[in-house]
């Protein structure tokens, strides 16, 4: 007889789950495995709300397995560590990001690129190595193999540092991989949301000149005065876009809806690179002439490996980079999701799990 979520593992757990594609989240009793010899058990303090959580609870991508407990920007305290665990001890402040499993023996894993392992498993809405479903961080505890646990550096706040575990690595990894870190070069950041605002901060920390490219003129003041961008380009203003043609060395494109690449490619200098991070529902249109005439490149990227995620956290701690967050209670999550769907957040919701997730 199939076990229920509550009984499939020995340790009770509690969180909020979406039960169907309405995406409505509600209290959910389930269970977590015993802490194995390689595992770390984490009491969850905070969990960021990522746009992927919204896509998944609504089954936008067609592979949601309900009930879904989302959440992959998790910060908490280690309450138990297995006997083979060397990197962490009880009481440590730790983070868990987008992935919690991989084969640990393929070429990608050997290169610390667990995110490209063909057997990689996501923190939630995926089958873990024990064959049971993974539940994410909108919950009280999580048990994770030490390889997928991150040390949260001194000085990096738990609440505003949480979104770095997905948003942070998602922009940091391609900036390193595609060589978008040469001080003095000009970075364009398209879209000013969860990913975009972190990209601005990280870009500035690399010594780049940063221009935000956005369709919302009302974000200009924030972008420049609060986030530290050097300039702001309204993408719907043809004059301004024309004046900016051929001025950028790199563009990080965080826009997740279907959008035009042509104007963005025009902003790049010769040899310029555009890295797209959003996952639109339909394919984009790629104009070829700008690529050919200017030797330009379009690439993509997806989170990062564990080693570089740790490197990113340490980098952010050193440069005092955190996300701009709106802290919410667990029972405010459905309203937050509605607002997220309208991009009505500056710039990431973070659930105050420990203080608001009360077992019902």
């Amino acid at each position: 007889m199939a076990k229920s979520p509550e009984t499939e593992h020995p340790n009770k757990a509690f969180g909020w789950a979406a039960k169907d594609k309405s995406g409505l989240l509600s209290p959910f009793h389930f269970s977590r495995r015993n802490n194995g010899e390689n595992d770390v058990t984490v009491k969850i303090l905070y969990c960021g709300v990522c746009h992927t959580d919204l896509h998944t609870i609504k089954n936008d991508w067609g592979f949601s397995y309900y009930p879904v407990v989302p959440g992959h920007e998790i910060v908490g305290i280690a309450t138990q560590v297995g006997k083979n665990v060397t990197k962490f001890k009880e009481g440590d402040r730790v983070g868990v990001g987008v992935i919690t499993g991989s084969c640990q023996s393929c070429e990608s894993c050997d290169q610390d690129l667990e995110n490209y392992c063909p057997q990689m498993s996501f923190t939630y809405n995926a089958i873990g190595s024990d064959g049971t479903k993974n539940y994410g961080g909108y919950s009280d505890t999580i048990v994770v193999d030490q390889r997928f646990v991150l040390r949260f550096p001194e000085g990096l706040p738990s609440d505003s540092g949480a979104p770095l575990l997905c948003a942070g690595i998602t922009v940091y990894s391609p900036m390193k991989y595609y060589g978008m870190t040469e001080p003095g070069k000009h970075l364009g950041v398209a879209g000013l949301g969860g990913l975009g605002h972190v990209a601005v901060k990280i870009g500035k920390a690399f010594g780049l000149k940063v221009t935000v490219i956005s369709s919302s003129p009302n974000k200009e003041d924030e972008a420049i005065n609060r986030l530290g961008a050097d300039s702001f380009l309204v993408s719907t203003d043809p004059q301004k876009m024309k004046a900016a043609i051929g001025t950028m060395d790199y563009i990080i494109d965080t826009v997740s809806a279907v959008h035009a690449l042509f104007p963005l490619l025009g902003l790049l200098k010769v040899n310029g690179k555009l890295v797209t991070l959003g996952l639109p529902e339909k394919p984009l249109e790629l104009p070829i002439f700008p690529l050919v005439l200017g030797r330009k490149m379009v690439g993509g990227s997806d989170i990062g490996g564990m080693k570089e995620t740790q490197e990113m956290l340490d980098f952010c701690a050193k440069h005092n980079i955190t996300a701009d967050i709106e802290l919410i209670k667990m029972d405010e999550i459905n309203t937050a999701m509605d607002r997220l769907a309208k991009s009505d957040v500056r710039y990431r919701f973070v659930i105050d799990v420990a203080n608001s997730l009360s077992r019902m």
Partner: protein
């Protein structure tokens, strides 16, 4: 008003967007102190010539004398020319001028200079319009002249000046020239067949990707490709999934990028050297989840064009050509439009382009 040009020239020009080429008398400048003048022996016919004579891209001015795969023998050099002398075998490709001072020029990438002057149909420094190689003589600044290695037959070497550099440059720039790598070449035409030859000479394994099986024998037995995939056959595509380090895509018609991206390994590079006029559909999944890239490339700088031609000399790489007489050129254009050529027409200028009385 432009400078008065003093040296007579004779060639073939398109007079309007019908694209029909007919005899045309015109004038070129005198040989300036930095110029090299040469008698044109052969000129390759590039697909760009076809687009330009018909004004497909809306930038043609008439009369238009096409031709940017030009080879010949030096007849005169200016007083400040140091690298060439009378009798040398030389060539000119797609460019005859650039600003010389921008970032691109400083890096030897004149092809990306915003003020780059193309060999035909562009305004030169003296305000005259440039005329290309479907003509009896050429004059060009020394900086844009390419020396042709002695051992290469001039007629078959001519297409290297555009087709050759167009595929050589991205193979080098994107690091797709390492022995043992696996390179795909999409489209087996003027660009594609030369890409196969250069990629093989670089020591890579080459798979030709084509829409029909008809060129399989040629590709493998004559051009030296290691494998051949018919892009309309799902089974063949499936067998090639995730196997290539890079793909040089020479196709300029609208086509699907998805199977090509599928054939790349993780981190693989899809290089567009053909330029479809309409945007292509791009699914971002292969880019995001497999970190694959799509990039473009356009000819190459002068230094690397010389490097390419020198490599061709060392490895005996030339284009597969059909030599034609000047009066066949309009028929050749019609055949080119139907891709009915193995794989480049070259005009036997010196022997067949005669001024009409």
């Amino acid at each position: 008003m432009g400078k008065v040009l003093e040296k007579e020239a004779f060639g073939l020009a398109a007079k309007d967007n019908s694209g029909v080429l007919s005899p045309f008398r015109f004038a070129r400048r005198e040989t300036g102190e930095k110029d090299v003048r040469f008698k044109v022996l052969f000129c390759g016919i590039c697909h760009t010539d076809l687009h330009m004579i018909r004004n497909d891209w809306g930038m043609s001015t008439y009369p238009l004398v096409p031709g940017h795969e030009i080879v010949g023998l030096v007849t005169e050099v200016g007083g400040k020319v140091t690298k060439f002398k009378t009798g040398d075998k030389v060539g000119v490709g797609c460019m005859v001028g650039s600003c010389g001072s921008c970032d691109s020029c400083t890096e030897g990438l004149e092809n990306y200079c915003p003020k780059m002057i193309q060999t035909y149909g562009f305004k030169y420094y003296d305000d005259t319009i440039t005329y290309g190689g479907y003509s009896d003589n050429m004059v060009c600044d020394e900086a844009f002249i390419i020396r042709i290695p002695d051992n290469l037959p001039l007629d078959a070497a001519a297409p290297l000046l555009c087709a050759g550099i167009t595929v050589y440059s991205p193979l080098k720039y994107h690091g797709l020239d390492k022995p043992g790598m696996h390179i795909g070449v999409v489209g087996l035409g003027g660009l594609g067949h030369v890409a196969v030859k250069f990629a093989k000479a670089m020591g890579t394994k080459v798979t030709v990707i084509s829409t029909s099986d008809s060129k399989r024998g040629e590709a493998i037995n004559r051009l030296g490709a290691d494998a051949f995939v018919v892009s309309r056959d799902p089974q063949q595509i499936k067998g090639a999934m995730g196997t290539m380090d890079g793909i040089i895509n020479t196709v300029s018609a609208t086509h699907s990028l998805l199977p090509l991206l599928g054939m790349l390994k993780h981190k693989g590079k899809l290089v567009m050297v053909g330029a479809p006029e309409k945007p292509l559909e791009l699914s971002v999944m292969p880019l995001i989840f497999e970190r694959k890239m799509v990039m473009g490339s356009m000819i190459g700088g002068i230094k690397e064009t010389q490097e390419m031609v020198d490599m061709a000399g060392k490895h005996n790489i030339t284009a597969d050509i059909e030599l034609i007489s000047a009066d066949y050129v309009n028929t050749a254009m019609e055949r080119l439009e139907k891709a009915d050529v193995r794989y480049r027409f070259v005009i036997d200028v010196a022997n067949t382009l005669k001024p009409t009385p």
